[in-house]
Structures are given as C-alpha cells and as structure tokens.
Subunit: 169 residues, 2 copies
C-alpha cells in the first residue's frame, strides 16, 4: 500500500470512534489475515472506491457536493436539454433518488427544467447561470482531488487502472 | 464494454421503473456524452464496483448475505478470537454499523462472542458450528459470482486489475 494512502487511512481511523484504544492497541499487535477475502476482486475494488470517494467528499466539502451530484451536473453540462430519464439511465441512478437529487440542485439554483417539446410530462434539464459559475468552483476542487489521486496511485498506474476500468464503463 | 455485462445492464434497466418508456426511447436515440466525467477514475471505479456488488447480492440471495456480512464472516474465520474493534478496523467498518451487522449474524446463529481474557468489556469473535456450515454454502455461491466476474472481465484482465487494486488494498 502506498505510504500516503496509509497515512490518510491512519488519520481517518484515529478520527473514528472505536472500542477503547487500549483494547485495540493490544489486539492490533497481530495483523489480521484476510483469508479467502484475498481472492475477491470486489473487496479490493470497494476499498479503493471508498478511499477515493472519501477524498472526493472531503475535498469538495467547501462546495458541499457529493459524487452523485457532481456526476449529474457534469452530464447536464455535457448534454443540455436531455431528459431526467436519460440522465438517470446513463448514470444508473434509480428514479426516486435522482428526483431528490435534482430537487436539491434546483433548490440551490444550479439547474432548471423546461417542459420538453410538446410533452408536459417530460422535462429537459439545463444548467442555470448560477450552476455554471458553481461548476467552475467545483471543478477547481475536483482538480485537487485528481491531483491527490495521481500522487497516491502514481500517474502511470492511474492511467492503467483507468484503461482497464473504462473497458467496462 | 463487454457484451455480457451490457446485456445484464440492459436487463436491469428494463426492470427499473423509469419515466415513460416512450420518452426514454425517443431521448435515447442520441447517446449521452460523459463530458468531464470521462476523466474521473472514481466514476469508473464506482461503476464497476456497483456492477460487481449487484451480481454478488443477486448470486448470494439464496443465503441472504450482503458483501459486508460476507467480509466479516471471512475475517472471523481467518482470525478466530479477535476483537470486534480489530475486525472493524481491518475492514474499515464504522463501529455502530459493525455492531448491528454482528448482532444480525449472532441472531442467525452463525457467530458467537466470548469475553476476552480478563476483560469484560472486550469480546472475541468466533464462528459457531452453524456458521461454519453456512459458510460452506455461501462459498459455493461466491464461487459462482467469481466465475461470472472472470467471464465478464476476462481472466487475464481480472488478474491485472486485482494486482493493481491490491497495491492499495
């Protein structure tokens, strides 16, 4: 494991309320074995994903933006005028959850909806002026998150991982 | 994207309640652009992790076991007698959530706790006979999940991905 990631983790663990630290210290003298877990890709995939999302949330805290909100903003930016259903399907976000998420972004004045041509039931989504401005600030923060990630993974391994993951994206 | 994964996804999307399917069909004629999202490793990491966890949960449904429960069972199996705090720290599971999870496994008669030597506050965890038997059936199902994963990713790419992820695991 990369030293920096390890240090970050250690920091996190200190912050988490755990059992009495004396117990933990005594019990930690032996490292735990992973056993069969060591053969499961899903376990390692989840661990890195959680680390990456934690850094994202921490880095984006000044704008109070979560990963799913950010994805939706970027998809609306890249595809103005598309429907809620299309955005939800592209990101695999369940309908009710997407509705809540969009409601939140609308409440902050970042997105708007227009009735789609000739159909009152369907709404096309777009970024407001305020949303565009917010996204500039948000992207400045995500650049910091990506810089952290490149440092932690090493830029070569980051690219390799990206290529492998994109094949299934 | 691998055809099989795509087919599974299509199946899932059909099952999800969405906006009216006519809207969706019309709007889907143009594929959405990913925009800046295409540069974020976290996005692709999350997509594959969600796919893998969905298949895990579906495959393990006969035993009603979720990924976090499975990890805890495997860690107790590999490290009998270790404390709740040590298991929680190794898996990075927050204390209250782990307590609920262990309570559930205890209720199913799969795990037991003993007071650790000379300390009434600390408990060491172990698998019961019933837990060991359940784990045999559970592992038969996870083998199916892993076979699906090797087929979807290709075993060479699965190994490459595993190596990359383990460096940060």
């Amino acid at each position: 494991m990369d030293v920096r990631l390890k240090r970050r983790r250690a920091g996190r663990n200190r912050a988490v309320e755990g059992d009495s630290s004396a117990d933990l210290a005594a019990d930690q003298m032996d490292r735990l074995k992973l056993g069969t877990l060591d053969e499961h890709l899903g376990y390692f995939l989840r661990r890195l994903q959680v680390s990456v999302f934690k850094d994202f949330i921490r880095t984006l805290a000044p704008m109070d933006v979560r990963p799913a909100q950010y994805s939706v903003l970027l998809l609306i930016e890249a595809n103005p005028g598309r429907s809620q259903a299309a955005i939800g399907q592209a990101l695999d976000i369940e309908r009710a959850r997407l509705a809540r998420l969009l409601h939140g972004l609308e409440g902050r004045g970042w997105i708007g909806r227009r009735a789609a041509d000739g159909d009152g039931r369907s709404h096309s989504l777009y970024l407001t002026r305020g949303g565009e401005k917010a996204l500039v600030r948000i992207k400045a923060l995500t650049a910091r998150h990506e810089a952290w990630l490149a440092e932690v993974l090493g830029s070569k391994r980051r690219l390799l991982l990206m290529d492998l993951l994109k094949e299934f994206g």
